[in-house]
């Protein structure tokens, strides 16, 4: 079980801020493929990975980051704070 969080327009497109997912995906990229295959709203949110950022256990990571032992993955667009 892994907590998956969505922020900004990713959250809006997928339609929820957070969900618990039972997955055996070995990497973030594999999780993205699994979700995209599941429903169109995921496929729409993940259509262009270059427009997305990912954090693994609250640290910025790459899409090829492993998910072994990970508790929390978050997807969001590039940050616009400050």
């Amino acid at each position: 079980m892994i907590d998956v969080l969505y922020f900004a327009w990713v959250r809006e497109r997928i339609g929820l801020p957070k969900e618990r997912i039972e997955t055996a995906a070995p990497t973030v990229a594999a999780l993205v493929e699994e979700l995209s295959a599941r429903e169109d709203r995921y496929a729409a949110a993940f259509a262009d990975l270059s427009a997305l950022r990912v954090a693994v256990d609250q640290d910025l990571a790459d899409f090829d980051a492993p998910l072994v032992g990970v508790r929390e993955v978050a997807f969001f667009p590039p940050m616009t704070g400050g």
């Binding site: 922020f7 667009p77 590039p78 940050m79 400050g82």
Partner: protein, 148 residues
């Protein structure tokens, strides 16, 4: 080092004054304040963030600025939630013995905060709502801080 992430407004002048007050060790104080600009009919702005990761990332950035520039102290306050034009979104303050380090550290904090702290702005105006797009320049700005 003082990092605050909050929905409540804060008083930039009072915070800047308290940060600088009676500081006999620092010759130089630099502050930056970001204000919601009234850019063509903006009614309000919603600032979303990632609780937990926001504080972590700001602490990491502030610790790195302190190490690189030998800061005596630094402060970051960043709001989330709903803001209207004229409101202060965030501020940073840096204290160093000399001005070059205080300036460089404040710019470093701002550059990293812009591209590395998980905040997202959505603007609400007469034409509806839209997420603010990240600027290429903000990511490029990090290049000047790379160390060999």
């Amino acid at each position: 080092m003082d990092i605050r992430v909050q929905a409540a407004p804060f008083d930039f002048g009072a915070e800047a004054g308290a940060f600088a007050r009676g500081r006999r060790d620092a010759g130089a104080i630099v502050t930056f304040a970001g204000i919601v600009r009234d850019d063509g009919g903006l009614a309000r702005m919603e600032l979303e963030h990632y609780p937990g990761m926001t504080e972590r990332s700001l602490e990491t950035i502030a610790a790195e600025a302190t190490r690189r520039f030998g800061l005596l102290d630094c402060l970051v306050i960043h709001r989330h939630g709903s803001l209207t034009p004229g409101e202060t979104i965030m501020m940073v303050a840096t204290a160093a013995p000399h001005r070059a380090d205080a300036f460089a550290a404040a710019e470093f904090l701002m550059d990293y905060l812009k591209s590395r702290a998980p905040f997202w702005k959505k603007e609400f105006g007469a034409d509806g709502a839209a997420w603010v797009a990240a600027k290429d320049g903000d990511e490029d700005a990090l290049g000047r801080w790379s160390q060999d």
